[in-house]
């Protein structure tokens, strides 16, 4: 059983992370948007804007289409739940998370898939032109992005002989710093996947409503009020989760080891620092690149897939 193995500190770590993640996620989104605003010479709405938006949405009355089915109404909760869960599996502030035993990297990918499945189905539920279009495009993007992500994670778990994120991370952070060529490929692939999965430019545009280009937005057109709020929150959780995965895999240094209370504040600080940098980086990248035609997206993601596989192959070749 899991419980008997677990000591108090682990549980505390788990709970802290649980709360921290769900609370901090919108902040990250806000930060990225703010950086974008600055890069575009706008003053921006401030990093707290997402919270205000969420609050406003929660206050509103939900309006759904006449023919919306139960699936449509359940989906926001499912998506939100999955994303939150995902964010708790990933070691963000500390490596020993009792729950992460229940779900390893493959399960993590599974969680993302589950959420995606539900949102795609919900998008088709009303039967509008944009809904189905969005669902189709979302699935098209994902069937290339998902295996790529899986391959990235495989490379990592090959190196660390485990598919449990905590073990991977502690393996990486415990080693003295060394360069893994395979990881380099993986990192590149992961970056592309991150962009695609979080509906960022150049694959998608998080704040467009231009019919022909949108993917993720098209899926959630029919949502309003609390449903929309949950979905928005979920997507910022997703972004947060992806960032944390990236950090955990490629620069895990300074993360708190098992039950080190003393290390906790430092690791949180470090994490904040990394996230800030990453967010800024993302904003910069988006500002510099342009949205690509929808049918170039598969090529883009195909590249990611190939890179990831290449990374794995290189690992097999050099066993490094």
């Amino acid at each position: 059983m899991i419980i008997d193995k677990v000591q108090i500190p682990a549980v505390v770590f788990q709970l802290t992370q649980l709360l921290l993640v769900v609370l901090a996620a919108p902040l990250l989104t806000g930060w990225v948007n703010q950086c974008q605003a600055w890069l575009q010479n706008r003053s921006g709405a401030g990093v707290l804007q997402p919270y205000r938006v969420l609050h406003k949405l929660f206050l509103k009355d939900a309006v759904i289409a006449y023919n919306a089915s139960w699936l449509f109404r359940v989906t926001p909760y499912v998506v939100f739940g999955c994303m939150w869960l995902a964010a708790t599996i990933i070691p963000i502030i500390a490596v020993d998370l009792p729950f992460s035993r229940a779900a390893d990297v493959i399960a993590l990918v599974g969680v993302f898939a589950l959420a995606r499945m539900f949102s795609a189905l919900a998008a088709m539920d009303i039967g509008t032109a944009f809904g189905t279009m969005g669902a189709r495009r979302e699935m098209m993007v994902s069937f290339l992005a998902e295996p790529a992500l899986l391959m990235v994670l495989f490379t990592a778990s090959m190196l660390s002989h485990s598919t449990q994120l905590p073990y991977i991370v502690s393996a990486f952070s415990r080693h003295q710093f060394m360069l893994y060529p395979s990881l380099a490929f993986a990192a590149l692939a992961f970056l592309i996947v991150l962009l695609a999965e979080n509906a960022r430019i150049p694959v998608d545009n998080p704040n467009t409503h231009l019919e022909l280009t949108m993917i993720h937005e098209a899926m959630i057109l029919e949502y309003s009020a609390r449903h929309l709020a949950l979905i928005e929150w979920a997507s910022s959780l997703k972004l947060f989760a992806y960032f944390s995965i990236g950090i955990a895999l490629f620069l895990p240094y300074g993360i708190a080891e098992v039950g080190q209370w003393s290390a906790l504040p430092l690791s949180i600080l470090l994490l904040l620092f990394k996230l800030v940098l990453a967010g800024a980086g993302l904003a910069l990248f988006e500002a510099l690149s342009a949205k690509m035609r929808i049918f170039r997206a598969p090529e883009f993601l195909g590249t990611a897939f190939l890179l990831a596989v290449l990374g794995l192959l290189i690992h097999f070749l050099l066993s490094a």
Binding site: M1, F58, D61, V63, I64, A65, Y66, N67, A68, S69, L71, Y77, F80, C82, L85, F99, R101, A102, A103, D104, I106, A107, G110, V111, A113, L114, M117, L121, M124, G127, T128, A129, F130, G131, T132, A135, R136, R137, M139, M140, S142, F143, L144, E146, P147, M151, F154, M158, S162, T163, Q164, L221, E222, L230, F295, A308, L312, L313, F316, S319
Partner: protein, 674 residues
């Protein structure tokens, strides 16, 4: 015999006899159909359940043997129930229990005469599948094998007035027969000597063919069983035949019959043949990958819902072959723990596929009855008129897409673990192959999700795409009846249970791996909550906790939201970016949903499409994506045969002088050569 020494095999045999009896009874009682669907089918469902339990019983027990005084002289029918057979018996019983329950409701509408015949064929089909699993000599195996093909052929051609269905049936039986001859030949290679008694499996186990001959045997078996399983390129019959059959039969064919082929390959490779050779594994693996990708790609572009499912079966068979290939490779290189892992994954996945594919196929049966359509392009919004079917099939869809915490995920998880643990094989080429294979598997899994979103979304969600009349009809399509619900409910329950209790299932499978590979997987973690094939440090998965967590988080969120804010809800017209005139025809059709795949994997398809000109008053778009292999492989063979035949027919030209000349020349030639 007294109750003490009744063996599983006896029970299994009795149940099989009972099944045949039920079938005959159905034929006799065709004048009163209600008996058939109200009594016989539920009874046979119970019988199937009995089979499953017997299999479970046999898993633990030592292999037990029975010999029937039938068959050929000196070759009585040998039956043997060992863990492998037991496991597949569980699969058969578990799936057919649900399907038969469903059939009790589904066949209600049939005319008595047809129903009686169908009842017979159905039960013969079940019995022969069970017999295939129990057979312990080549003759009984082949008889059961071909009887299975034959009965399913008659089931496929139930409404034989439709020429396409006749064609499908013909193609099916032809492929089955050719495959059977190949299997026959491989038995011929393995038979241990010249007496009739050399055809028992024991004699084959005792015989040691040279590596060349065992390779021949393996290749023949792979061809024969592959033809039955729908392995590319012997798959052409499958998407024709499975949709043609009545849905419960399609369910059995896809869910169970294909697995008998897998059983055959396992039996041949790990039980009857002594030595395995590494390239067998590589071949199987490659074939599997090909099949998987091919199947899922074609599934993505189908418009007929049953064809789509058929192609997805091809994909799953591919995954199973990959598992077998890995097992062979690991076994050859003495990595028995890994071999056990991948074999476990394979068996687990066949169990899963049996459950969710049967569920989905019977589901399409209900839809067919309710709407009278198989073309997804004219469906939509059925979730509102058929909530039960929709809900139950959602389980199947999530499961087949390999999503946690359902069963599809567990087997894929195990398979991927096998890949992740594989490095360190002496052969560098195989080392290179492994990651690529893993990638392809991942791709196939992701594509499967795509296909299933299309399947479920287009059928159940949105608005009906048909003309107004049939749209109205679909609005009031009747939901599945009691028996149908029960059947589907059982299958859905299977999907969930197999997903939630992997540790228990793996423990059962361990009996099989122990017998085939001499080692088993076991569970590193204590208790049944946490599945850890090798070691908790490396990998572990606990669906129960997973489910609890997701549900917990969801409910908590819902409660918080409703408590601190409010639960007010209004309904209004769909917004759709404020687009004024929107109607059902603006949704993606089945075809439109598949279009990205068609576009990305263009070279694999043979696409014929007619695009409307801008000036058409009623613009219509038609597109068909066909299988290139049909044109590249099968038609040439057909033409070649016809050519030869036309040459041969010149022999028979009607001139008696030349006939005499044949005799004359034959005589002279023979005289010259003696």
């Amino acid at each position: 015999m007294d109750a003490a020494n009744i063996l599983p095999i006896d029970v299994a045999g009795a149940i099989i006899a009972l099944l045949v009896g039920l079938g005959l009874l159905g034929l006799v009682l065709q004048c009163l159909p209600w008996v058939i669907y109200k009594i016989i089918f539920p009874l046979s469902a119970l019988a199937s359940l009995g089979l499953a339990l017997t299999g479970l019983w046999a898993l633990g027990a030592i292999p037990n043997i029975a010999v029937l005084p039938l068959g050929l002289p000196d070759l009585p029918l040998h039956l043997r129930l060992d863990p492998l057979s037991g496991f597949f018996l569980i699969l058969l019983g578990g799936a057919s229990f649900g399907v038969s329950l469903y059939a009790a409701g589904y066949f209600k509408t049939m005319a008595g005469k047809v129903l009686g015949l169908l009842c017979l064929e159905y039960h013969i089909f079940l019995a022969s599948m069970a017999m295939v699993l129990l057979a312990d000599d080549a003759y009984l195996f082949m008889v059961a094998w071909e009887t299975m093909a034959l009965s399913s052929y008659f089931l496929v051609t139930t409404d034989h007035n439709i020429p396409d269905i006749r064609k499908a049936g013909f193609l099916y039986l032809l492929m089955a027969h050719v495959g059977a001859i190949a299997i026959l030949l491989s038995f011929g290679v393995m038979q241990g000597g010249h007496a009739l008694s050399a055809y028992t499996f024991d004699a084959m186990r005792a015989s040691h063919p040279t590596s060349f001959w065992s390779s021949v045997a393996f290749l023949l078996a792979l061809f024969g069983f592959g033809a039955k399983a729908g392995v590319v390129p012997m798959h052409v019959w499958l998407p024709e035949a499975h949709p043609a059959a009545p849905s419960p039969v399609s369910a059995l064919m896809s869910g169970v019959m294909l697995k008998t082929a897998i059983y055959g390959i396992l039996r041949m490779t790990f039980d009857l043949l002594h030595t395995q050779i590494w390239w067998w594994g590589v071949l199987t693996l490659t074939l599997g990958l090909l099949t998987a990708v091919f199947g899922v790609m074609f599934a993505a572009v189908q418009e007929d819902m049953k064809r789509l499912l058929a192609y997805s079966s091809i994909e799953n068979i591919g995954l199973l072959l990959v598992g077998i290939g890995l097992t062979i490779i690991f076994h050859v290189y003495g990595k028995d723990a890994l071999a056990a892992l991948s074999l476990t994954a394979t068996l687990y996945h066949s169990l899963n596929h049996a459950s969710f594919k049967s569920l989905l196929f019977v589901g399409t049966g209900s839809i067919l009855h309710a709407t009278g359509k198989r073309d997804m392009g004219r469906m939509g919004g059925l979730i509102r008129s058929m909530p039960w079917v929709a809900a139950l099939m959602l389980v199947g869809v999530l499961a087949i897409s390999g999503l946690p915490p359902l069963n599809g995920f567990v087997s894929e998880w195990l398979l991927l673990q096998a890949f992740l643990l594989s490095p360190g094989l002496p052969n560098s080429y195989i080392n290179m192959l492994v990651p690529v294979a893993a990638a392809v598997i991942a791709l196939a899994a992701a594509l499967a999700a795509y296909v299933m979103v299309k399947f479920y979304g287009v059928i159940f969600l949105g608005q009906s795409r048909g003309e107004t009349v049939e749209a109205a009809h679909d609005e009031h399509a009747h939901d599945a009846g009691f028996w149908e619900r029960t059947g589907m409910g059982w299958l859905a329950l299977l999907c969930i249970l197999l997903g939630l209790a992997p540790v228990f299932v793996v423990q059962q499978i361990d009996h099989v791996t122990q017998r085939l590979l001499g080692t088993h997987l076991g569970n590193a973690a204590t208790g049944w909550m946490l599945l850890a094939p090798v070691d908790t440090e490396r990998a572990s998965y606990s669906p129960v906790y997973f489910l609890l967590a997701v549900l917990g988080v969801m409910l908590a969120t819902a409660w918080v939201v409703h408590h601190y804010y409010h639960g007010r809800l209004r309904r209004g017209p769909a917004w759709d970016c404020g687009f004024p005139a929107q109607n059902a025809r603006m949704q993606d059709t089945a075809e439109g949903f598949g279009q990205p795949i068609r576009r990305i994997f263009e070279p694999f398809f043979k696409i014929e499409s007619e695009v409307p000109t801008p000036f058409d008053t009623h613009p219509e778009y038609h597109g068909r994506s066909e299988d290139r292999l049909w044109y590249l492989l099968y038609l040439p063979i057909k033409r070649l045969t016809e050519k030869l035949a036309s040459w041969v027919s010149l022999l028979q030209h009607g001139h008696i002088h030349l006939y005499l000349a044949y005799t004359f020349v034959t005589l002279i030639v023979l005289l010259v050569f003696v």
